[in-house]
Amino acid sequence: MAVTTTGIPVRRTVRDRHHRGVSRWVVLALVTAGALVMLVPFAFMLLNAFKSPGDYSSGGPLSWPSEFYTTGLRTYWSEVNFPLKLWNSALIAGSVAVLGVVVSLLNAYALGIGRVRGRLWIVGVFLLANMLPQEALIYPLYYVAKEIGLYNTRLSVIIIFTVIQSAFGTYLLASVLGTFPRALLEAAALDGAGKWTVLWRVVFPNLRPTLAVLLIFFFIWTWNEFLIPLVMLIDNQTQTIPVALASLQGDRLMDAPTTNAGALISLVPAILFFLIFQRTLARGITAGAEK
């Protein structure tokens, strides 16, 4: 793909105007080719998810399926009890998104609006915590969860990710609230509003777009998480979609078409979120990058 930029002889001389008209098409063709290369793995997956094992072994990965075979999909769906996995993932990611945003907002209210002493250090600690490798936390978390009976529960993963995600949320919201218009707070205080009222009647409504972005981020990040769910959730009742797929890897059930079918089902929710939230996310990524 590195080719995309060579061969753009965009000379800006008057004579070259016609030439430039051609070269822009060359650029478009190269970038489009790059984009198609990005999509090829998805095409392979689709092609083989609907192929029968016999078809696959005789025709190979590139052949067109001789029949529209859905048994692989159905096998995976029922073997892993996919609806339950979907519910587990949704429950964990949804709870973390809401709780994470609430905790971030409370933290950031104290740090950005309350400007408590030492706030720069506190924000710095939250920022660093967000960067920590999860391996540095996992064994004590695993051990304590076992001791207090939270091991192999969805609650354990919800609590852990609420804290991990809100470390980032606190960092982001604290800097956003640092520039919150003081006048709005003054006015509310003059009207006799307490801190709690100010938070929910003044700060919260003004921050709603940012909080929405944060909510979606937390949801998708948690949905895609792997290490902590892999360690904490060990049986069929509690596992999430990525963990279920990974723990079947190498299983006899998972011939090539079933692997592709399983991957396809597992990708669908993520792609749906992407399509639904695309606009919000594009805005959010900018917000994240500027902070």
Binding site: T32, F44, N107, I113, I122, Y143, T162, K195, T259, L267
Partner: protein
Amino acid sequence: MTVPDTVAGTPPATTPTSSPAPPPRRRRDGRDAAYWLYLLPGAVLFVLVIGVPLVGTGYLSLTRWSGVGDPTFVGWDNYRQLLDDDVFWASFRNTLAMIVAMVVVPTLLGLLLASVLFDVVGRRFRPRTAAALRAAFYLPQVLPVVVAGIVWGWILRPDGAFNSVLDAVGLGALRHDWLGDPDTALPAVMAVMIWVQIGYPVVVFMAALQRVDPELYEAAEVDGANWLHRFRAITLPQIRPETFVVALTCTIAALKVFGPIFALTRGGPENATNVPSYFAYYTFFKKLQVGYGSAISTVLTAIIVVVAVVFIAVQARSERRERGR
């Protein structure tokens, strides 16, 4: 409230926007101790879920323990052992490869792609074309990375799609067990990681470019600057803050990479693709050497903290220099 030119008889302005600069007393009020209450739940959770486990891992790294019974304190033994452990060094060498695949290549390629998409496709064609192409590059970023790893693991298998493509285009002689051969496993994993990562810089840089004043480009074009001139004189300096953020977050991600390695190779063959986080996971949960695994994790944590602090310090300094100009 000082509202000098209010018409007599009108009540003092209550619209928030019209209220003047706060009197000095406000600031002390703003530092009200009651705000600590709002920090309390978050702080307690933070200490329990991040603080205590982090310290616990640090302590365990000084012990020998299988996870059952009591840990035996052994001082710096685990760290001494690490220095002589070839797997440990191999895992950090592979981290450098991950930094190339997840930071260097995606950032450079992302700058070029974003600039071309924004500057050439977005302006000479329709912005919607640019947005559609951007979505194609970004798609791998939205997937659970383990699922992407499993699909790629199948594509790169000896009987997978990649070898079939080679056959189909007459390069059958190159057929290979890409992930099974220690010589090709790391380059193959790197290629997958570039595919996974490239969309992130493209999207961030394209968003950043929208912030840049279009008149800068128009003026440059009138002055006869070609695409390369504009790229170097306008694009690069204007989006430097975003470049910093992308480089930092991608570097941290490269240091922590786990899921793709787990799904593609489990660190094999012969540790050719092992990375610190997978090495730590394997030591904790497969070899049951909790002390040793904690030492690996602690070293990784220390490296990440140093990298993050250096990055942020460099960025702060370059921002100051920029402002000083």
